[in-house]
Symmetry: C2
Subunit: 370 residues, 2 copies
């Protein structure tokens, strides 16, 4: 680990999709967390040949009953001793409910383990994967299923559209975004929220940039929001949300451990419910802000390197199609889409150093509202 | 990479089991190969909660038809462009046959890709997982299914028992072991063989040590055998064969690339069928020997560190059972077996440096026979 405070031993259960080829879901999350030293259990909710962005896919889904059965398999062999859980794409409302029951059981188990009262002994990072850019890509009943679970989660990572679905607030400005976060903190009792890839106009926010907005609630449920602005990369990637979630798991725990180490005599932050900082801590000083900065630094490096490699890969792809004599317009367009999807797969294993020791250049700034 | 010659770009298809918790099969192989910079596609032949050494397990198997379907999913999206394949545990003869057909198809695809004749453009590392210590743990018809496939493989990694099953030679001495290798080279046309965890008495082989024996055939099918002796570690681990196979994939390619780089003007070794060295190359100078040395160095470090951590973990396990009041002899023994299995899971993610830059202490020595 590059940080001054090493990551405490961390055993994580990751529940998400598996693709044979490429880097989305658990395929990217497991490697990212393992590379940072976690012991990761991976419960795969599907086994697909590739991600659905290719527009054609083969494979099978794991049923809600099978998901639960795998959890019971862990439990019966004393393998349910997790410090954290990360949940991503879960197909269908029944499976979402099963994942919620698993989180509750793991939390109870973690608390039983500790002789002293330690509500922070389990921490669930929930990525409520439902859709993007105004389009739902799960069944309608998944939305209420997630709403039911929110109060069990410690940190949620919706994108802008998912934050709208969960909060019921139409997000059209930074003010309404803040309102949505406030609803998630107060009404749904979510301790920490990070809204990923926000693309709202704002004075300090050039057109070619994106931001993430994060907040940890105070003891009275008030938002403490910060924003991190970073340059957009002109490529369409899949798996960025999954990579973000995996890195947040590790960097959040690391940042909380670091804050705990620097505040001698104070309550151990890692043993508090949801690792919530004192009300006196400003938004930009939150462990959540430190974690998000580091995560975005890693992501920006990996995405930049992936994007840089794409032109050469597409030149090869075109040469392949020429050689194969695929010239008819529709066939060529379809083939190029597939090859472009392949070229856009995140180059994570080839850039492990960007995961382990990223250069942090984008800093959290405080968001203030009247 | 620690080696002077960097690993050429390597895209690998890994076909093996997946466990949610723990480190066997693809769960360990994928991470090991990714950590060394490979782009790894993982086709999981089962999804089990844990490995079968726990003596209780939940989960599902992937059928032969599903395995083939996933391969077709890759193919239809131009994702079947692999340089190497690693196959491990495959449940049932029909699935073993499917894996063989996949290897043949990938080899044909790889050769089609290259404009020049390049029979070395695809390399299959086959771990014929069937049993250990005289006991078969797959169905009887898996043995002939593997025999049918052997001539398609480039490197096989049987343990001593599996080498007996495949060659038909009863291995009771280093001489008969050598005979088995000769049969695999000549009768089954296998280019490279490494027999893992050999525990035969030998003058240079103290009781507390193990060895691996490797050989690359000459152009006339003769064995060129070497042996690497290393200290046994007094712990029972699962997943060591899977880790060995994964690391051999990477280190073999790296060693062949290094040999190619050092012999200017010679034929490019990586484009030759099965990367077979000239007949003049001595056993201890084979890329296979270099690779095996490096793999064993990594394994010895990871296994030692895993073993060192076990007493503390078992003390915790006993405390847990005391707290839970599990005192009745049978129940306690069962629980301790489960907890010990958990403690013996290879600590790979926690010891990435041992994977990346191991200290090579055990060297290949030539095996000579009349």
């Amino acid at each position: 680990m590059s940080a001054a405070t090493p990551l405490p031993e961390t055993r994580v259960l990751a529940i998400a999709s598996h693709v044979v080829s490429g880097h989305v879901g658990n395929k990217i999350a497991v490697f990212a967390m393992q590379s940072l030293g976690c012991d990761v259990a991976a419960l795969n909710t599907v086994q697909f040949s590739n991600h659905t962005g290719y527009r054609q896919v083969r494979g099978t889904k794991t049923s809600a009953a099978e998901i639960w059965d795998l959890y019971e398999g862990l439990k019966q062999s004393y393998l349910d001793n997790f410090d954290m859980m990360l949940s991503g794409y879960v197909p269908g409302a029944a499976s979402v409910e099963a994942v919620g029951r698993i989180a509750e059981a793991l939390r109870a188990r973690a608390q039983e383990q500790h002789e002293t009262n330690s509500p922070g002994s389990f921490f669930w990072v929930l990525d409520p994967v439902m859709g993007d850019h105004g389009k739902l890509y799960v069944a309608d009943d998944v939305v209420p299923a997630y709403k039911q679970l929110l109060h069990h989660a410690d940190l949620i990572l919706p994108n802008q559209f998912e934050a709208e679905l969960l909060s019921g607030v139409a997000i059209v400005s930074m003010e309404t975004l803040h309102e949505a976060i406030q609803v998630l903190h107060e009404q749904f009792q979510v301790p920490h929220v990070v809204i990923t890839s926000v693309s709202l106009a704002s004075p300090d926010h050039p057109v070619s940039s994106l931001s993430v907005v994060g907040s940890s609630r105070t003891s009275t449920g008030k938002a403490r929001a910060f924003k991190i602005v970073f340059p957009a990369i002109d490529c369409y990637f899949s798996g960025t949300g999954d990579m973000f979630g995996a890195l947040m798991v590790v960097r959040m725990r690391e940042a909380v451990a670091a804050q705990e180490a620097s505040s001698q005599g104070a309550d151990a932050l890692l043993s508090r419910r949801a690792w919530l900082s004192d009300d006196a801590v400003e938004s930009v000083d939150l462990p959540l802000a430190r974690a998000a900065e580091k995560v975005l630094a890693s992501m920006h490096e990996v995405l930049s390197k992936t994007c840089e490699a794409m032109p050469a890969q597409m030149a090869k792809a075109n040469a392949l199609l020429d050689r194969k004599g695929i010239v008819e317009a529709d066939a060529r367009a379809k083939a190029l889409h597939l090859l472009k999807s392949g070229a856009a797969e995140l180059k994570l294993p080839q850039n492990v150093d960007s995961l382990r020791s990223p250069q942090v250049n984008f800093r959290a700034v405080k968001m203030e509202f009247k």
